[in-house]
Subunit: 344 residues, 3 copies
């Protein structure tokens, strides 16, 4: 599509600084953008590219309103949010997926397939499973018996949803993810490990997005639960009986041990590990690679191992950096004192 | 099924404290349990729920024998083990898998499929592969040419077993796992990396359970080996030529580098990394997120980076926490000494 | 095949120390090798096995030229490289994959399948996709619409290449990997997270090898790029808009955040995490489990959290180990000074 900057402003909001009649035909990164394209500036690291970008227009936050640039500016309170909306206007539509069931799919006669559902090649849909209207189940995906998938969902290729799963509406699951695998539960019997049957479920609420090659284990009893609007990145491990609140952000390669509760709006940065049977309060933020071993109060930012108040953690890290100097200082003190002793 | 508490005690052992005639119809967590259900208490963190649980009966360890609870108690030495057995009695049976080969599966005529085997939709079984009696191969799974899978195994959907694999009896492999991918072996030739052919195998012994999205690389030459009864959680990486003993526990997101040997009964907690070409002795325990760079003696508990005796590691961590205070103490010493010097 | 040591030396280079007429029929590890087999010694940890190995010949680096061994020696500058070539001579050829499209595959009529291509069972090839000559697409793999795969590639079972992908020639992708999943991009709108459309691509250049269960996200706009000859191990996460140079080595379970640039020949050891929007210069090496939060200059070896010059990091780690002693020393200083004060 082609839009003038003025058209765009009407649709995504913001104030034009410059010429609103310029025509935009696509979006790009600030370094790669060419004439006729729209870009954005949200991360200050890329500020230096603002003066030189070849883009025709740039969505910026208010702090860049007076910057000098050959490009026209669209000043938005939430520059990244406005760019996201702009992208949705310009983005080449995905190759359309025709509703219907591919002849190669194996769908149980007792499964309920809603209107407008697209079931791709080599999909398996088990007995009694249910797929809501407008949902897309891509090639090679497995839906176990009794699985419920809501309306408007996108399940990408080669996903596994075992018998234990219930998904809400507009859920996205990327390729290779496994929802409903057995929890890791064993009881010791001497030196053997007796498997504890995993008979619980997984409940994924509306508007959740789950990345690629993620694992969400079913509960031992009860349900592992992922709250509405939560977004999960790739290669994340979610143990049995974990309960995640709404609108949380779980970045790649995080691991959450069994029975832990993650509050609403929590952010777990990349490669974080969280111990089992603890609670992370609403709105807490955990820094990358941290190890959370104790409960985290709501709203607190924590980091490090063991994870603690981020300000304290940063101070400790700064001290660690100065350890070689501290050792020299203590050595000098010892020498000085030994001199003092001798003198005395 | 419905069982009286007395029936249950006969089957899983333990001593009844209270009324053995109550009828139980299912199992649940201690917080979620309703009347008519059985639950258990093994983790002291949940002790406070014992007085208020709505469960009709609770399996407890001997230390809780005298606690006051409206529920009837079943006192067992190994409460979690007894609950595991109770769950197996009450667990809703998995939807039955009918023996037989789904018409959509592609099975080589030279493959040997044992009696009572269930081969799901879209499965591929290569030439000369062999599947033992009573084994279940779920939808979308790939068995390479020559693969051997023993009796009574459960291979869940979308698993890949390459040509290099041999699995024993009663092995469970969860979805998305890849057994027998090439080891990561390259020889430097100037600035290029020359692929070293990976021509070894993977041997998985009896009663091993492998989680979802796990990778076990085939050996360069010889065999990567996972010993009898070992349990592996999700998203674990096992490098080429690794040898794991019997009854080990490998928690989620652990990575084990090539040619390392892990002894019998070893426990590697979540997100641990282990260097290549070292040995972790029988019964050793490695704390979560540790980095093991040196051999670990049998029976030792280690943690931290680099992993060392857990008691030492804990002491060091406690010192690190007190670093800001130590810096202040050293500063005060320097000031005191400088005063002393001036006074002298 | 059977080769004399002399034949072998002609093909892989090196100087024979001993009897060049011995006949070799296979390769093995130095501990497992039997008579008639060839092995090698590159890692000094295995030096002690050189005197006792049952192998008939051993490829060694020049430093072992004068060692006493019953085996004949082949002395090579690059012992591991020579062994890699020897393995390629002796390795049992993979079960041959016949060119042709398995009848169970679902291939769009608009896809272009080159000569000599083998498409396995249950494969899906989307509209307009293109597969170069001699490439092998194994069972259960998904190629989205418009995907381009070059010549001589090996795509193992159950791989997902979404619509966003372009692969060069001789690329290897192991099972379970997902190339082209959506980048993890959300714009905050109050407490909700608005999905940022991910409309970019993934470009994988010639001779790249990608391990099992790896995730490479497509760019938000532009391309995520993996440079020629780079080798990626299992369970690695590569975020949107990451650019990796040529001949890099990315070991298992590494995570690289969005928009980061990794130079040519960089080595990231196992479980490393790299922050977003930074650059790691050509030839830099990052130690295992490090957390890279700042740019890394070309050629530097870094480690630790936050990753810094490895020599500094090692010194700091050594100081940390001595913290309990340092605390005692400071306590003694305080006592001595308090004594001095009292005496004064």
């Amino acid at each position: 599509v082609d839009l003038t900057l003025r058209d765009l402003a009407e649709r995504v909001g913001g104030e034009i600084v410059g010429d609103g009649s310029v025509v935009l035909s696509g979006v790009s990164g600030i370094r790669e953008a060419r004439a006729g394209q729209l870009t954005f500036l949200a991360n200050p690291k890329y500020e230096r590219y603002l003066s030189s970008t070849a883009a025709t227009a740039v969505i910026v936050s208010p702090s860049y309103r007076s910057v000098s640039s050959r490009a026209q500016l669209l000043v938005c309170e939430n520059a990244y949010g406005a760019f996201a909306k702009a992208m949705a206007l310009f983005a080449p539509p995905e190759p359309p997926v025709e509703p219907g069931v591919d002849p190669s799919a194996v769908v149980s006669p007792s499964a309920r397939i809603g209107e407008g559902v697209a079931v791709g090649p080599h999909v398996t849909v088990g007995a009694g499973a249910s797929v809501g209207e407008g949902t897309r189940i891509d090639a090679g995906t497995f839906l176990g018996p009794g699985v419920t998938v809501g309306r408007g969902c996108t399940i990408r290729p080669n996903v596994t949803l075992t018998a234990a799963c219930t998904l809400g509406d507009r859920v996205i699951v990327h390729s290779g993810s496994v929802i409903g695998s057995d929890g890791f539960g064993f009881a010791r019997e001497g030196c053997f490990h007796l498997k504890v049957p995993q008979i619980g479920t997984v409940v994924v609420e509306d508007d959740v997005e789950i990345g690629a090659n993620v694992c969400v284990d079913r509960a031992t009893v009860g349900a592992t639960r992922i709250g509405r609007g939560t977004k999960i990145d790739n290669l994340v491990q979610i143990g049995h009986n974990v309960v995640i609140g709404e609108d949380a952000i779980i970045v790649a390669q995080v691991g959450i041990s069994g029975s832990t509760r993650i509050g609403d709006g929590v952010v777990l940065a990349g490669q974080v590990g969280v111990a089992g049977h603890i609670e992370i309060g609403d709105g807490a933020v955990v820094g990358a690679q941290s190890g959370v071993t104790r409960p985290v109060p709501a709203g607190l930012k924590v980091s490090g191992y063991p994870a603690q108040n981020h300000a304290v953690s940063k101070r400790i890290l700064a001290c660690v950096q100065q350890l070689p100097a501290l050792f020299r200082r203590v050595r000098r003190l010892e020498q000085a004192l030994s001199r003092t002793d001798k003198e005395a």
